[in-house]
């Protein structure tokens, strides 16, 4: 289930991706951290490799307080392996779509972009998915959730 970290590392080097950090401690599995500019190439490279990470399980974001971590959860059905690609995005930066590699990303990217205040580019339908347009990016830690008092006194 856990792919061989050295195999993945060498795969990424061969694909020309430098500076990727791999770790399996304290996380959900093997986490590959790459730069924002490399994200698309990494996802495509992992898919084309003989590990065949063709299945995008999930695409979502985590607000770490300093930046937004976009997580691509990939799975290889043939080898039954999973890994997580984490990409750090500055607040308000651009999220490049990977829908051409994984069409499964279409709706999750819309949701992630609107929930974390990122701009979605390269996407055929970048409209809001869940929130009405003009809403604050809800999942950012800086956006306060209303307390029960506030809701009552509105």
């Amino acid at each position: 289930m856990l792919p061989d970290a050295t195999a993945i590392a060498s795969l990424l080097e061969r694909a020309g991706i430098v500076g990727a950090e791999l770790s399996s401690e304290g996380g959900p599995g093997l986490v590959v951290r790459v730069e924002r500019a490399q994200a698309g190439a990494v996802v495509q490279g992992l898919k084309d490799s003989d590990h065949a990470f063709v299945f995008l399980v999930d695409l979502f974001g985590i607000d770490t307080g300093e930046h937004v971590d976009i997580v691509y959860h990939l799975r290889s059905i043939a080898r039954d392996e999973e890994l997580f690609v984490k990409v750090a995005h500055e607040y308000g930066s651009d999220l490049a779509s990977v829908w051409e590699t994984h069409p499964a990303a279409l709706m999750p990217e819309r949701e992630t972009a609107e929930m974390f205040g990122l701009t979605l580019s390269g996407h055929p339908n970048p409209k809001h998915l869940l929130l009405t347009s003009g809403s604050a990016p809800m999942l950012l830690k800086s956006v306060e959730i209303r307390t029960a008092e506030e809701v009552r006194n509105r």
Binding site: G27, V57, D80, H102, G122, L130, I145
Partner: protein, 402 residues
């Protein structure tokens, strides 16, 4: 993989050279040349939902029609968005279960179980064997209930009203059992980190046995009424085909994926609870059309009943929950746990920062991926087929909108 990209680009409004579409698509008649002399014809842009007898929840589907044929189709969701992921960051671990119930409201046990598994991974809590068996038992009963709802709405979508009521009649028995065990008909809050809420009473056990003794015969009846019907088969065979590559490309899981020929089941491939001790088959179909998804789900109901029998007969002794602190404070960490919900792989990615509330809880909704796939394959079919396709991928808006 060009196939999947082509199906997405085929939907008329979704083209890369129109990156910023207005939020409201004007619902007008679009005049287009008909191809015959100078005659202009009109494509109707119709709106199905959010209130419509056949959308499965508050789903709005914009359809551009050329007569009866669907040219383009776009689904609009968000009518049921309640901010479950944001709310989960402000609640203690024991309270998040109530939030998860309300995601996919038709199969609450699986939602709760996904979160409980993730919390147990992060907090490193062991679950007693009896609790695991109870989780499996309740989960499979909930699976049958959810599939019965799907079966009934499949009948309604194709025009057969009777089947819905027969399905609901059987579901009433299940909800009765679930209410007996958990106290609630739908929002159970039963599976908690560490175990389950209540143990099984003898009265509940009797009800479960009574249900299981008649269910297989009723299931045959249901299958004969709808699946055996020629009209239904003409409406569903060869319609809405999702082939293997498209299914994988769109992230489909569960019955949708297995009906397209890929045998992946979280219960077997990432075993959780007591599934590694259970003996069950996983139905896989090859054709990927609506009828295949129908057959896979009917067979899943049968297998679920089989698992329930094994659970009831072999329930081990022991505690129904581990001793878990009232206020759970797991160490900082991150975990992903998935369950096989009736809709597919329902995953919870939990990030903990050491406090008593989750730092980030991501709820992976299997129905969202199903909706995308349905939306992509609908152009080119008829309006009546569109209704059947959206019904066959089993969308529940509570899960998609969270």
């Amino acid at each position: 993989m060009s196939d999947a990209r082509d199906t997405v680009a085929h939907a008329g409004w979704l083209t890369a050279d129109k990156p910023s579409l207005p939020d409201e698509i004007p619902l007008t008649l679009k005049r287009v040349p008909s191809g015959v002399d100078e005659v202009m014809t009109e494509h109707l842009v119709v709106n199905m939902g959010p209130q419509h007898p056949s959308t499965h929840g508050v789903l709005r589907i914009l359809v551009e029609l050329d007569g009866e044929e669907v040219i383009a189709c776009e689904s609009v969701v968000g009518y049921l968005h309640r901010g479950i992921e944001k709310l989960a960051e402000h609640r203690r671990y024991s309270a998040v279960g109530t939030l998860m119930d309300r995601g996919d409201y038709v199969s609450g046990i699986h939602n709760e179980m996904a979160f409980a598994l993730a919390a147990e991974k992060v907090a490193d809590i062991g679950v007693p064997r009896r609790a695991n068996w109870l989780r499996v038992l309740m989960g499979e009963l909930n699976r049958i209930a959810s599939h019965l709802v799907w079966y009934g709405t499949m009948g309604l979508d194709t025009g057969a009203m009777g089947q819905f009521l027969y399905a609901v009649r059987d579901r009433e028995d299940l909800l009765d059992i679930l209410e007996d065990v958990t106290g609630q008909r739908m929002m159970f809050n039963y599976v908690r980190p560490g175990g389950v809420l209540n143990d099984l009473t003898p009265r509940a056990e009797k009800k479960i046995r009574a249900f299981l003794s008649t269910f297989d015969a009723y299931l045959d009846e249901h299958h004969a009424l709808l699946g055996g019907n020629e009209i239904f088969q003409a409406r569903t065979r060869g319609i809405g085909v999702i082939d293997k590559e498209t299914a994988i490309a769109f992230g489909l899981t569960g019955a949708n994926l297995r009906a397209s020929g890929v045998s992946f089941d979280v219960r077997r491939d990432r075993p959780y609870a007591a599934y590694d001790e259970m003996d069950f088959d996983i139905p896989v179909a090859e054709s990927g059309d609506i009828y295949a998804r129908y057959l896979v789900r009917i067979e899943e109901m049968r297998q679920a009943a089989r698992i329930c029998r094994q659970c009831i007969d072999g329930l081990p002794e022991g505690e129904h929950t581990a001793k878990v602190a009232k206020v759970l404070r797991p160490p900082a960490g991150e975990a992903y746990a998935a369950v096989e919900s009736p809709r597919g792989e329902l995953g919870v990615h939990l990030v903990s920062d050491g406090t008593d509330r989750p730092y980030r809880m991501r709820y992976r909704p299997p129905a969202l991926f199903g909706l995308q796939a349905a939306e992509a394959i609908t152009p080119g079919t008829f309006l009546a087929d569109a209704v059947a396709i959206f019904g066959s991928v089993d969308v529940v808006l509570g899960e998609i909108d969270r």
